[in-house]
């Protein structure tokens, strides 16, 4: 598979006279393969929008290299711009123009045939309201217009920064189908979102960013698997046998947490070993289930942003990779 998007060691420092400097991106890496739907996740202020803006030439990086569709950007941006559709953080439109005018003007500037305007309006469900001024649109309608503007070019690479922001449940589901359909039509989609349930449903792979650095990446199931850390739930036919089972397993080097009606094991490579071990002791397993972790818990763990009772986490408190003593500093092969 070839990479449609490559970022290596990207740096962006915002300087302010009063507050000094802030490293919004601090050696960030990312790779998106062709034809994939790639989720781009990270806590607030971690640098997602900054990455996308830099990629699209809106801001200048302070270091690193980027390539889209095989061209080095920002240098070759004019050459690839026609194949990259993007929305960056709830885009604003000129409030006095109608949706159709807005899109027609963009189409004119980008040399896209005007008939495409009605196609995309239909696609995002704005057909019947396209003549009204954008000023009068609801948040979700503006968001739909934004998606329409990104689709106008029929791009090879579609970059969507929080496209589901403000969409109604039906809209979110439509967005899901839309993205899937686009991916099926060989479009590569890069999707930043905080709705992790959605990401888990539609994305093939993800990149997780925290404080301007990558903390995890890879295919969704792989990222999930690596973080379930071999957790397995065991139930026995007789609850009274649980202590004996726990003892046997601990002796075999398995980490065990006891619960009233089941045991939680971790560090188990092959669940079959557990059933064999217990069978040898004459204990009969009624349930042996690898525990499925969801993306949300993996995200919270990796970025160290899970809420702690009694504490108010501030925005820049999250995992910083590569700094000793921090959680996530040694996240094995899949950390950056």
């Amino acid at each position: 598979m070839s990479a449609v998007l490559e970022i290596e060691g990207l740096r962006k420092t915002y300087k302010s006279r009063r507050r000094g400097t802030r490293n919004a991106l601090d050696g960030f890496d990312m790779r998106v393969e062709a034809g994939q739907v790639h989720g781009f996740l990270g806590p607030n202020g971690s640098g997602k929008t900054t990455t996308l803006r830099t990629l699209l030439g809106l801001i200048r990086p302070d270091g690193g290299r980027m390539a889209m569709l095989g061209h080095e950007v920002p240098h070759a941006l004019p050459a690839v711009a026609g194949q990259v559709g993007a929305i960056v953080e709830s885009p604003q439109f000129f409030p006095q123009f109608s949706a159709r005018d807005t899109l027609a003007l963009l189409a004119g500037a980008g040399e896209v045939p005007p008939r495409r305007v009605d196609e995309v309006l239909e696609l995002v469900g704005l057909r019947d309201r396209a003549g009204e001024r954008v000023k009068t649109y609801s948040l979700g309608m503006k968001q739909r217009l934004a998606v329409a503007s990104a689709l106008l070019k029929n791009p090879k690479l579609l970059i969507l920064d929080e496209p589901a922001n403000g969409l109604d449940p039906g809209g979110i589901r439509e967005m899901r189908t839309l993205v899937r359909d686009l991916a099926a039509a060989e479009m590569t989609v890069l999707l930043s979102s905080h709705i992790l349930g959605e990401i888990q449903l539609i994305c093939d792979s993800v990149t997780i960013i925290s404080l301007g650095r990558r903390v995890a990446f890879g295919p969704v199931d792989q990222v999930l698997a690596q973080h379930s850390q071999g957790a397995v739930r065991v139930r026995l036919e007789a609850v009274t046998d649980l202590p004996a089972a726990a003892e046997a397993l601990i002796r075999a080097g398995v980490r065990v947490t006891g619960h009233p009606d089941h045991l939680m094991l971790s560090g188990v490579d092959k669940p079959a070993i557990v059933s064999r071990l217990l069978a040898e002791q004459g204990l009969y397993v009624s349930e042996l289930a690898p525990v499925v972790v969801d993306l949300e818990s993996v995200f919270l763990e990796l970025t160290a942003t899970a809420p702690v009772p009694g504490q108010h986490r501030q925005v820049d408190q999250s995992t910083k990779v590569g700094e000793p003593g921090q959680p996530g500093a040694t996240t094995g092969g899949w950390g950056a």
Binding site: R53, L58, P78, A81, P91, D101, L106, S149
Partner: protein, 337 residues
């Protein structure tokens, strides 16, 4: 090319552009209509009427004078002191003369194309320059402040091309509007002169000079539009251009004026922008230095400093060029967030 056409379409789709254009046309039209009523053709009948009126006024004055002299003589005969009330010799020497009643004063105002059209070129330039300022500033200012510019740059990542194309669309529009309205304006005043005024002595030379006035007016309109565009783009907001214009006006017309007056600078007005605006329209503007006079020596002709329209061209041209360069420089460098 398509970007240019798109920008033209965008400019004319904007309500502000349309509204201001309508206001400009109504304003200029209103001035022409009102003015046409104030001008009257001096036909022989009108002149004869004025003459008759002057005669009547003369006769009335003569009658009053005679009566006053008679009254004075009578009073004198009664031994009263008449000096104070009637003047010496009963005011005999103040007999009204016919030439004191020039029929010209009874003539209505007549518009003289040859001598007065220049004023109206300046009026036109002023109104259209205001239009150029507002349209130029808001065209790019609103685009920045609403995020439209960012969207456009996602489509056309060549920043300088985008800004230059917008500027070109603005300037060609201003040029077109000025030429079209300027032609109508000239025709209107020619018709007013023809029908309700005079077109006497309008030679080819007069036309040529009017054409040059027009070219200077056009230059002013385009420069104002470009400067407003550059300022609004620099500040990423329409209001920045308005603020800069007000600020410049206050500094130039008030602060500098007071400053040079207090410091006693000779020809202080040469540092004030309005001097150059006047010189631009009038071809030259003369500043006088009355302090060089020694009035105890009687009559004095103060020292002069002549500001020519070429000086104005330099001042306004360099100013406009500087803000344009700054705007393009910023466009190339800045982060768009």
């Amino acid at each position: 090319m398509s970007l240019y056409v798109t920008e033209l379409r965008r400019l004319f789709k904007r309500r502000l552009t349309r509204l201001l254009l309508v206001l400009l046309i109504l304003g200029l039209g209103g001035i022409a209509v009102v003015f046409s009523f104030s001008s009257h053709k001096l036909s022989p009948a009108v002149i004869a009427e004025a003459q008759a009126e002057a005669d009547v006024q003369y006769q009335r004055a003569l009658g009053d004078w005679r009566q006053a002299v008679t009254e004075c003589d009578a009073a004198k005969a009664r031994g009263e002191n008449t000096e104070q009330r009637y003047g010496p010799d009963c005011g005999r020497e103040w007999q009204p003369q016919p030439e004191m009643f020039d029929p010209k004063w009874n003539l209505p105002y007549q518009f003289d194309f040859r001598n007065e059209f220049g004023i109206f070129v300046a009026v036109f330039a002023g109104a259209t320059a205001l239009f150029a300022f507002l349209v130029g500033a808001s065209f790019v200012g609103a685009e920045w402040s609403t995020g439209g510019m960012m969207n456009l740059l996602l489509w056309r990542p060549k920043r300088l091309t985008v800004l230059a194309t917008k500027l070109a669309a603005l300037l060609t529009t201003l040029l077109g509007v000025s030429l079209a309205l300027g032609a109508l304006w000239t025709v209107a005043f020619w018709l007013i002169a023809k029908n309700r005024g005079t077109t006497a002595k309008v030679t080819a030379g007069v036309w040529q000079s009017s054409a040059l006035d027009g070219v200077r007016a056009l230059g002013l309109i385009l420069a104002v539009g470009a400067a407003a565009f550059a300022l609004a783009s620099l500040g990423r907001h329409t209001a920045m251009a308005l603020g800069a214009a007000v600020g410049l006006g206050v500094i130039s017309e008030i602060a500098i004026r007071i400053g040079v007056a207090m410091a006693g600078v000779r020809f202080g007005d040469r540092w004030v922008l309005s001097t150059y605006a006047l010189a631009w329209f009038q071809k030259q503007w003369t500043l006088l230095d009355h302090r060089s006079c020694d009035f105890s020596q009687g009559q004095c002709s103060p020292k002069e400093l002549i500001i020519t329209w070429q000086d104005s061209a330099l001042v306004f041209g360099v100013g406009t060029a500087l803000v344009l360069v700054a705007a393009f420089w910023m466009m190339r460098r800045r982060d768009i967030t």
